[in-house]
Symmetry: C2
């Protein structure tokens, strides 16, 4: 093994770099924690959203989670095929599907929450409750920022 005593240097001062690395570390551990459950980050998020917003359609969920309509199709298909959610034609809008959890979906969600709580506890083991709350708050503020696209995307 050659000497790996290289420094990240300037990258260390970039919040974006650390965000990328931290999110990647979380994804890796999340995936390991969910092994055998049949759920991933995205599908868990969708399942969780359906559970708390019974009857909403996939478009609305995709909008909240920033998932393209086109990409939602396969994701919902996946959850339906696993028997975790059900599609039913919406009563007030026959273009849309009303989504609800099946009993198996409820059970899967309970199991997933247990796994994920353990995963978060593991990743944040050295964080005080105060630090954890602070981190969540700072991150939530970043999410709300508009990207450059909304400012000057008119040219080009």
């Amino acid at each position: 093994m050659a000497r790996d005593e290289i420094e990240i240097g300037a990258l260390a001062s970039l919040v974006g770099y650390h965000l990328r690395r931290a999110a990647s570390a979380f994804l890796t551990d999340f995936t390991a924690a969910m092994d055998g459950s049949g759920l991933r980050q995205v599908t868990f998020a969708i399942l969780s959203m359906v559970a708390e917003n019974r009857g909403t359609n996939q478009g609305a969920i995709g909008r909240i989670l920033s998932i393209q309509r086109a990409n939602m199709v396969a994701l919902i298909d996946e959850l339906v095929e696993k028997g975790l959610i059900e599609r039913a034609v919406d009563r007030t809008d026959r273009r849309a599907f009303s989504l609800t959890l099946t009993p198996a979906g409820e059970a899967a969600l309970v199991d997933a929450r247990k796994r994920i709580d353990a995963h978060e506890r593991r990743m944040l083991a050295e964080f005080s409750p105060k630090e954890r709350a602070k981190l969540a708050e700072l991150l939530a503020r970043i999410e709300r920022r508009d990207p450059i696209a909304s400012e000057d995307k008119a040219e080009g």
Copy 2:
């Protein structure tokens, strides 16, 4: 537009969810900020590493940035083809390539840093210097955590 008054509910309490969203927001704005520069998050990171660790090989850089050896090949090719870095057979290890920045690479890095500094200022506009430092510190601590894989991956 159907009513989108749905809540993220339980997801709101998950640091992993916010990390994912925040990293995604940063990526979007980063990409827009680098438009026309020919650099992306990964290639900028590599360029930055080469600049601060002249002569190191691609394996060492990949190890630090968590990029697979196999995937480094195309990335280095890309930077070489753009004339930003140069490969030279390592004097002490003829298997390896010693990487250095070209003058064009130096210039590209200066330009990139300007764009990225503006990007970070924009994304963290409402953050005090103290908050920004706190965020970077908390994220850096997450990066250092070992994934579940290192604990109990022995069983199938």
